[in-house]
């Protein structure tokens, strides 16, 4: 239309060049995150009360017998490290799924009461009903889905959701946290660490038995979410635009909510609601990969990195040992305050 219309070939070349640049940046960021996770994972196996060398740790991981290290590394640190990665991936991918679907960073399951529901139910099942293992997970998942349903129904009564859903969710989260505290106050002889697990989340006493259900949930539900990542990405344009692009909105929303709540619930049943990991992983991932392409994988990796390094810091850096949820809580709280202030000013935003 203009006098100097660029040639089609030139524009094609530049379109595919920008595409390649964006793809390369993604690969680089994802690789760096993966390498960082491996590095922190290795550190978490090496340091602690006793420090073991890389070779000792490597031999234990490969199944050889090493004096002392076999127990400390193989039985204590290894399951703890794997559990940290599994729940970190789960919280990260489930959190960013909600944030993307509802186009709001405050819509993360740990802000709007889904984690709090899972955590209250798990605490109730353990403390009051004396249950353990899979039964606890079943309780946590059911409660997570119920809370989701309640928030959805309450916020949908007057037309659209948005900010209303988030405010209702925050209120429900506060009530459920109070319920958890009440249940724990009935627990009697419980040691401090067990209590803290259900309030802020902790990896203390991690075992393979505890890791397995969360790992299976991740292996089943993670791919379900990943298979919907392009649809989720299209939903960032608004539901009308996404639907016009061939996304089945209702079906996508249903599948994605069930998978994400399932992941949150299994992870919460294993470690308690590790504070703010689901909430922080997405925005951090968005900051480092940029606005292009799906955030599910980068956010999952950021979640794993947050939990792993939060635990290493909590266990080793300070003179007291703090559960990982306290460390991530200290990171997440200021960001939550910042977002609430920003939402208040601008009404709503991504």
């Amino acid at each position: 239309m203009t006098a100097t219309a660029p040639s089609l070939d030139a524009v094609i070349a530049s379109v595919s060049r920008s595409k390649a640049v964006r793809a390369r940046r993604r690969v680089v960021v994802i690789s760096i995150l993966a390498v960082l996770i491996m590095a922190v994972a290795a550190i978490s196996l090496m340091i602690g009360n006793t420090v073991y060398s890389v070779t000792d740790v490597a031999r234990v991981v490969l199944g050889q017998d090493v004096d002392g290290a076999s127990f400390t590394v193989g039985r204590l640190r290894l399951p703890r490290m794997v559990l940290a990665i599994v729940v970190g991936l789960s919280f990260g991918i489930a959190g960013v799924t909600f944030q993307t679907m509802l186009r709001n960073p405050l819509a993360s399951p740990d802000i709007i009461g889904i984690s709090a529901g899972a955590s209250a139910a798990a605490a109730f099942a353990i403390v009051v009903l004396g249950l353990s293992g899979t039964a606890v997970s079943v309780f946590a998942i059911t409660a997570g889905l119920l809370v989701t349903l309640v928030i959805y129904v309450l916020s949908h009564q007057a037309g659209s959701a948005g900010t209303r859903l988030i405010l209702i969710g925050i209120g429900i989260a506060a009530m459920l946290e109070a319920a958890t505290q009440y249940v724990l106050s009935q627990a009697g002889q419980w040691e401090l660490q067990a209590v803290l697990r259900w309030l802020t989340g902790s990896l203390n006493g991690a075992s393979w038995e505890q890791t397995l259900p969360a790992l299976i949930a991740l292996l089943v539900l993670g791919p379900v979410l990943l298979s919907r990542r392009h649809d989720l990405d299209a939903m960032r344009l608004g539901e009308d635009a996404a639907s016009a692009l061939g996304v089945r909105i209702e079906r996508t929303r249903l599948v994605v909510v069930i998978a994400a709540v399932g992941l949150i619930a299994f992870a919460t049943a294993a470690t308690g609601p590790i504070a703010f990991v689901a909430f922080l992983a997405g925005p951090i991932a968005a900051r480092i990969v940029g606005p292009h392409g799906s955030l599910l994988v980068p956010a999952a990796l950021v979640g794993a990195l947050l939990v792993l390094s939060g635990d290493v810091v909590g266990q080793n850096v300070l003179n007291l040992r703090y559960p990982v949820g306290i460390v991530t809580g200290v990171l997440g709280a200021p960001y939550l305050v910042y977002l609430i202030i920003r939402t208040n000013r601008s009404g709503e935003s991504l």
Binding site: M1, A5, I12, R22, G159, E239, A244, L245, V247, P291
Partner: protein, 284 residues
């Protein structure tokens, strides 16, 4: 270039919650033509477009594309034939123009066959057609309203559908950008034979660009046909509730609507009425 598709609404009734917005509406889109829908605010134009493109399920009646109900078709298959630019789409924070336009390729991609050469070509063509190629690497949120609107249209073009519905694509644009957008859509219609449906607010631009005009009122099609035959003072009065004169536009030869308000009438008998700005003659 394109195959002619028939998109028809029969006995269509749609609404939200308990309220019915559109009842028993019949509409036959003229294949290969530009249809413009006009009507007062809240009369159901967006609702009609949304239900013609599967966004809203009908309460009763149906929308049929080439003999098949669109609500029974696979979503992506439909999205390769029928595109919709909604009234207020959302640009994710920081997204670049080329990336946003590339989103239009979604229905052409499967889970494993993601980006191909054909996608690059479609995006490049859409950028050139909308004159946005030099903006390709800019962030959408940095653009002016007119540029941004052209980018959204580019996304709809990249979708490469034979039927394209656009909900108020010119709102918020100044008059030169409005004309630019409508010229662009006319080019698309003439070059590719794309069937185009546009919701417009400006009645005179609607008449100028429409092959076929649909006037809606209270969720019904009040009148439809060629603009020359249906645009009368009576139609304007009953659809928009304003009295108007209709003359012939000297440029296009099409009808031109001149609204008649309560002020600024030429008082042919006496001195100029006192309501114009001082020293501004009402006519010479």
């Amino acid at each position: 270039m394109t195959t002619a598709h028939a998109l028809t609404a029969t006995d269509l009734t749609v609404g939200y919650g308990d309220t019915t917005i559109i009842s028993d509406l019949d509409l036959d889109l003229v294949a290969g033509a530009i249809t413009v829908i006009v009507g007062p605010n809240a009369c159901g134009k967006s609702t009609l477009l949304r239900s013609m493109s599967r966004l809203l399920p009908p309460r009763s009646g149906q929308v049929v594309l080439d003999g098949r109900s669109i609500h029974g078709m696979p979503a992506k298959e439909l999205a390769r034939t029928l595109g919709l630019l909604p009234q207020s789409p959302i640009a994710p924070e920081g997204i670049t123009v080329a990336d946003l336009v590339g989103r239009g390729r979604h229905p052409h991609q499967g889970m494993f066959t993601r980006w191909s050469r054909a996608d690059d070509v479609a995006v490049a063509e859409a950028l050139i057609a909308t004159d946005t190629a030099d903006l390709a690497d800019r962030a959408v949120d940095e653009l002016s309203g007119g540029q941004r609107q052209r980018v959204w249209i580019a996304m709809a073009l990249a979708q490469d559908t034979d039927i394209l519905l656009l909900d108020e694509p010119t709102t918020f644009l100044d008059v030169s950008h409005q004309v630019e957008v409508l010229d662009l859509l006319t080019d698309l219609n003439r070059r590719r034979g794309t069937t185009i449906v546009i919701v417009l607010h400006d009645l005179n631009l609607a008449v100028r660009y429409a092959d076929h005009l649909v006037a809606m009122r209270d969720g019904e099609v009040y009148a439809s046909g060629s603009p020359e035959t249906i645009l009368t003072p009576e139609l304007i009065e009953s659809v928009f509730g304003i009295s108007a004169a209709v003359i012939t536009d000297p440029t296009s030869g099409k009808p031109l609507m001149l609204p008649i308000g309560r002020h600024h009438m030429v008082d042919r008998g006496g001195p100029d009425a006192a309501d114009g700005p001082a020293g501004h003659p009402a006519s010479d």
